[in-house]
């Protein structure tokens, strides 16, 4: 990253009349004048003020902007719950194949056999990985998968003449869970987490009334802990007639080790941009496919991919819309196909053993980093929120650090930027004060983990001598701390002309 010495201009501020990058193909049809083709009352009065710039200006502008980003290819990015693992470079080659990239979504199935075959194979792979036999690739992201899951839950209960109005999540849930619950028309009730980081079973029993439609759970939880009472939870939830939903944000801990379906979950969403090695794109695109059990299958979104053996043509893939109980369509077309294609490449590169190795190494790296921080004395200031073996991520609390050294979790995070590391997720989960949620992932080396642990130890030492360094950090980034209050007050969300 470079700190620009010059004021930052937008692409609009670089615009000058008469300059352009685009050349369209030569016009070769004759038509009436455009005035006759589109009557004046439909015509745009003032052109949109798009930039008028040349291609070199575009390249320079966005390349310079790109250097004001921290990115995973350049450095360690232990953002908890986001699984910032290395995205294999094969993606670029897969996405550049015309047969995938230039395939129209409404192409007839007979002319899209390769695409349907690919989607079918991705579905089968995800079914095996989750232990749930029916998969739908439509959801664009985890949150859309969650919404699908709750609409499936509603359809399931409605079909049984059962009206239920409550959905449960533990205190540790991702923010998307409660937001989804409201959007799906349910009321949120929160279940407490006990001192060991497991769900409070007494609280669950008390709240698990006949009005509960579903329990949404992340396992391992956002505390990075495996929910040890999962058997009891499943039995209680199913006995109450509710569905059990698995938020797959943390699947990276358990691939090939255990499966949500075997734990008794009815509905799962996966984040292909997390566990399955797809880049995050600065906030998408992602993919949030869902997998469900037999009793939920008939409600899955339309259309579905079907495979049959044709006497004449061999194996044939098709799209089917004839599921009368389906919740319908979640979005346009077939979902984020290109991401499914690239995730398929990831699964093929690793195979079953490779996926297991990924999860084992992710858990090894997380536990090692925690142990290393302990050895260095960091955890005296930043204790682990729970004294347990973690899974692929772990939570520290910055409360002692704030009290003894006068720097907050935010200060520590900002100072890490000066050390060349992306900070962990901070102030989440909400249950832990001054939380840092650290997820190193399996693709990092021991050398990187050691350097990160050393950096935190150094920052603490430095803060003991002079807390203002961290309090005013970062110092070396393209910009320093930004005035968020001013941004919200002035609400300049577009170019000022």
């Amino acid at each position: 990253m470079t700190a620009d010495r010059f004021p930052t201009k937008t692409i609009f501020e670089k615009s000058r009349p008469g300059i352009r990058a685009a050349a369209l193909p030569v016009a070769d049809v004759s038509s009436p004048t455009s005035g006759e083709l589109l009557p004046a009352r439909y015509r745009r009065a003032q052109p949109a003020r798009l930039p008028s710039v040349s291609e070199p200006e575009i390249v320079r502008h966005y390349t310079r902007m790109s250097k004001r980003n921290f990115d995973l290819d350049s450095g360690f990015y232990p953002l908890g719950s986001c699984t910032m693992k290395h995205p294999p470079k094969l993606r670029e080659r897969v996405l550049s194949l015309d047969g995938h990239a230039a395939l129209h979504p409404l192409q007839s199935p007979a002319q899209a056999q390769g695409a349907l075959e690919l989607m079918w194979k991705v579905e089968r792979a995800l079914a095996e990985i989750t232990g749930l036999p029916h998969v739908c690739l439509q959801p664009a992201a985890g949150a859309q998968g969650e919404l699908a899951g709750l609409l499936l839950t509603r359809a399931y209960h409605t079909a049984r003449g059962d009206r239920r109005s409550v959905v449960l999540t533990p205190q540790t849930a991702h923010g998307t869970n409660p937001a989804t619950i409201t959007m799906a028309g349910y009321e949120l009730v929160t279940i407490a987490v006990n001192a060991d980081g497991d769900m409070d079973l007494d609280d669950l029993r008390a709240k698990l009334t006949g009005d509960v439609a579903c329990l949404m759970l992340t396992n391992p939880s956002t505390l990075g802990l495996f929910e040890r009472n999962i058997d009891t939870i499943r039995d209680l939830v199913h006995a109450a007639g509710a569905t059990l939903y698995y938020d797959g944000a943390n699947l990276n801990a358990i691939m090939g080790i255990c499966r949500p379906g075997d734990m008794g979950f009815d509905i799962v969403h996966l984040n292909l941009h997390k566990s399955f090695g797809q880049p995050h794109g600065g906030g998408g695109p992602g993919a949030g496919p869902i997998a469900v059990s037999d009793r939920i299958a008939e409600y899955l979104p339309n259309p579905r991919i079907v495979r049959r053996d044709d006497d004449r043509r061999g194996t044939v893939y098709d799209l089917s819309d004839d599921a009368p109980a389906s919740i319908g369509r979640l979005r346009g077309f077939h979902g984020p196909y290109a991401i499914a294609a690239s995730a398929y490449a990831y699964i093929r590169l690793l195979g079953g053993a490779g996926l297991r190795d990924a999860s084992e190494t992710a858990v090894l790296n997380a536990n090692y980093l925690l142990a290393r921080l302990t050895t260095l004395g960091v955890t005296e200031y930043l204790p682990a929120a729970y004294d347990r073996t973690c899974m692929h991520e772990f939570v520290l609390s910055g409360v002692p650090m704030r009290r003894r050294l006068g720097i907050s979790t935010l200060d520590l995070a900002k100072r890490l930027l000066d050390y060349g590391f992306h900070p962990p997720t901070i102030y989440f989960p909400l249950l832990v004060d001054e939380a840092l949620l650290i997820e190193p992932t399996e693709t990092e080396t021991k050398e990187t983990l050691d350097a990160f642990a050393d950096a935190i130890a150094e920052i603490l030492q430095e803060a003991a001598a002079d807390p203002t360094i961290a309090q005013t950090a970062p110092h070396t980034t393209p910009v320093r701390r930004l005035d968020e209050v001013r941004a919200a007050r002035e609400l300049t969300v577009t170019q000022r002309w």
């Binding site: 609009f12 615009s15 300059i19 049809v29 083709l37 015509r43 745009r44 052109p47 949109a48 930039p51 575009i58 966005y62 902007m65 790109s66 980003n69 990115d71 294999p88 194949l97 047969g99 990239a101 395939l103 979504p105 192409q107 695409a115 194979k121 095996e128 664009a140 859309q144 923010g175 409660p178 937001a179 619950i181 409201t182 799906a184 090939g256 984040n271 995050h280 794109g281 998408g284 695109p285 992602g286 319908g328 369509r329 979005r331 346009g332 196909y337 290109a338 991401i339 093929r348 590169l349 190795d357 084992e360 992306h422 050398e447 980034t477 930004l482 968020e484 002035e490 300049t492 969300v493």
Partner: protein, 505 residues
């Protein structure tokens, strides 16, 4: 079960040897152990045997298995996942290339298929920018000090969307065009608390279906207003309006390609205090008036054409713009301008109090990951096209669409359904009997290397003999004339039943 692809050359490939030795190179023992990496299945992990032992020692456990002790034994899978065996990059690419070859892409036929996604040219500069790791590999800009590239791109994208749509504020993207329509319904619910959505039959069928699916969760009722000819029936729309209507949804140009009377619909909506949500094709906005200038309160749309590939439908981009007073009900991320402690210009994600990670159950949407990279492609594309290029493209679409419609309407028995203004897509009536016949015609055209469009009978029974034909700047005069010849030939067998009795006589 997954079928395992046969191993070529009869080679046995139980394990793949890790192709790289990165971390190991910094250690003196690297070369001794690299050729016999114990974790031979690893591809993207790099822990040497010695490192593994050192790490386990540091943790204080004997082996990795101990780290999973919290998982009850009976829940352990206890076997390897039944997936095809790991393959090398070359073989995986070969497999995916093989699948690609079994698709007929727009690179292999002359494509007049649109219906929501279009075969526009994506300039190389888009690939060059979105392929940069600095944009591709970060996450959502939670740390603005090191995310200025992404945040400024969001801000510029938002500006371009407000310029296109004629509304003052826009968000940083939603999933796709159909999702944007559903998100707009949730905004309407939050804005006015009413329970009914009135939807034009000219809205994309996928958007209508998506809205139906979401409305169940929102607790809202959807009423559809049919088309009169090829445009929304104004009288039926007025009769559907009441003070229970939260929002009205139309599409510009509509699914049949016809230009709608946005101002008239806006007046009907406004008279009842309902919001007008207009879904718009951004590529037409060089020539068509922006819906935001015609009274639409929310303008959304499918953004694939803005520098995105078709990719069998995704990932694409939904854009979302609104009146300024609706910004606090908007879904998703919004970038806002500010300054840092030294007074330097910078950007942050603003109004986070709307968002799920802060507001949780009271958030304006559940969006976390959206379509950031697609939005970057869109702003790069729009910068490439530029102010004049967007207008020129619009004029080009008008001219080529008009030419196509005139040429095709000269074919025996083929007619344009009406003379309503169209910009880039139009409805053509074929002299055949029903959807099955249209599909046969379609197949014959496809066999001749031309995709003639979308059989409208799939969604509109009353248009069972109609085809929706789309044009982009990539379709030349020669392409259009080839479509005419191909379609004419493909119609020939359908005309036979009429001619046969004459021949017999």
């Amino acid at each position: 079960m997954i079928s395992h692809p046969p191993l070529r050359d009869g080679r046995s490939k139980p394990h793949i040897v890790s192709p790289h030795l990165p971390a190991a190179l910094s250690h003196s023992d690297a070369y001794q152990e690299a050729p016999v990496a114990v974790h031979a299945v690893t591809r993207f992990t790099a822990v040497t045997v010695h490192e593994r032992q050192a790490m386990l020692d540091e943790i204080g456990v004997a082996d990795v298995d101990e780290l999973f002790a919290d998982i009850p034994a009976h829940l352990r899978l206890g076997r390897e996942l039944e997936l095809p065996a790991a393959a090398c990059e070359d073989d995986v690419l070969r497999e995916l290339s093989g699948m690609a070859d079994r698709n007929v892409s727009t690179a292999r036929e002359v494509c007049f298929l649109g219906a929501g996604m279009y075969d526009h040219y994506v300039p190389a500069v888009v690939d060059a920018i979105v392929g940069r790791a600095e944009f591709l590999t970060p996450y959502t800009p939670y740390q603005p000090e090191v995310s200025q590239g992404t945040l400024q791109a969001m801000f510029e994208y938002q500006t371009a969307i407000t310029e296109l749509t004629g509304l003052p504020v826009a968000n940083a993207s939603v999933y796709d065009g159909a999702s944007a329509v559903a998100a707009a319904a949730y905004l309407a619910k939050l804005a006015n608390g009413r329970g009914r959505l009135v939807v034009s039959g000219g809205l994309h069928p996928h958007a209508r279906q998506t809205l139906d699916t979401h409305a169940v969760g929102y607790g809202m009722e959807v009423i559809e207003v049919a088309l009169e000819g090829t445009v929304t029936d104004a009288a039926k729309l007025r009769s559907a309006m009441s003070d229970e209507v939260s929002a009205v949804f139309i599409q510009q140009p509509n699914f049949l390609g016809a230009v709608e009377e946005v101002e008239a619909v806006a007046a009907s909506a406004q008279a009842c205090g309902a919001l007008l949500v207009c879904s718009v094709d951004p590529m037409t906005l060089g020539v068509l008036e922006a819906p935001g200038h015609q009274g639409a309160d929310v303008v959304v749309g499918e953004g694939q054409a803005l520098g995105g590939r078709l990719s069998f439908g995704g990932p694409s981009l939904g854009f979302f713009a609104a009146r300024r007073d609706l910004i606090r009900q908007m879904p998703g991320r919004i970038a806002g301008e500010t300054v840092d402690v030294d007074g330097r210009r910078g950007w942050v994600t603003t109004l986070q109090t709307r968002e799920q990670h802060i507001r949780r159950a009271k958030a304006t949407s559940n969006i976390c990951t959206a379509q950031s990279l697609n939005a970057l492609a869109a702003i790069v594309y729009l910068s490439w096209l530029g102010r004049d290029g967007l207008v020129e493209l619009g004029e080009r679409l008008l001219a080529q669409t008009d030419y196509s419609r005139r040429v095709l309407a000269t074919l025996d028995g083929v007619t344009a359904v009406d003379a309503a203004p169209v910009v880039r897509e139009f409805t053509l009536r074929l002299p055949v009997d029903g959807l099955a016949a249209v599909q046969r015609v379609h197949e014959r055209c496809a066999a001749a290397g031309v995709n003639p469009g979308y059989p409208l009978g799939i969604d509109y029974p009353e248009l069972a003999d109609c085809l929706l034909v789309a044009v982009t700047e990539r379709r030349t005069r020669a392409d259009i004339e080839r479509l005419a010849v191909t379609l004419d030939r493909a119609l020939e067998p359908e005309r036979l039943p009429l001619t046969r009795p004459l021949a017999a006589a």
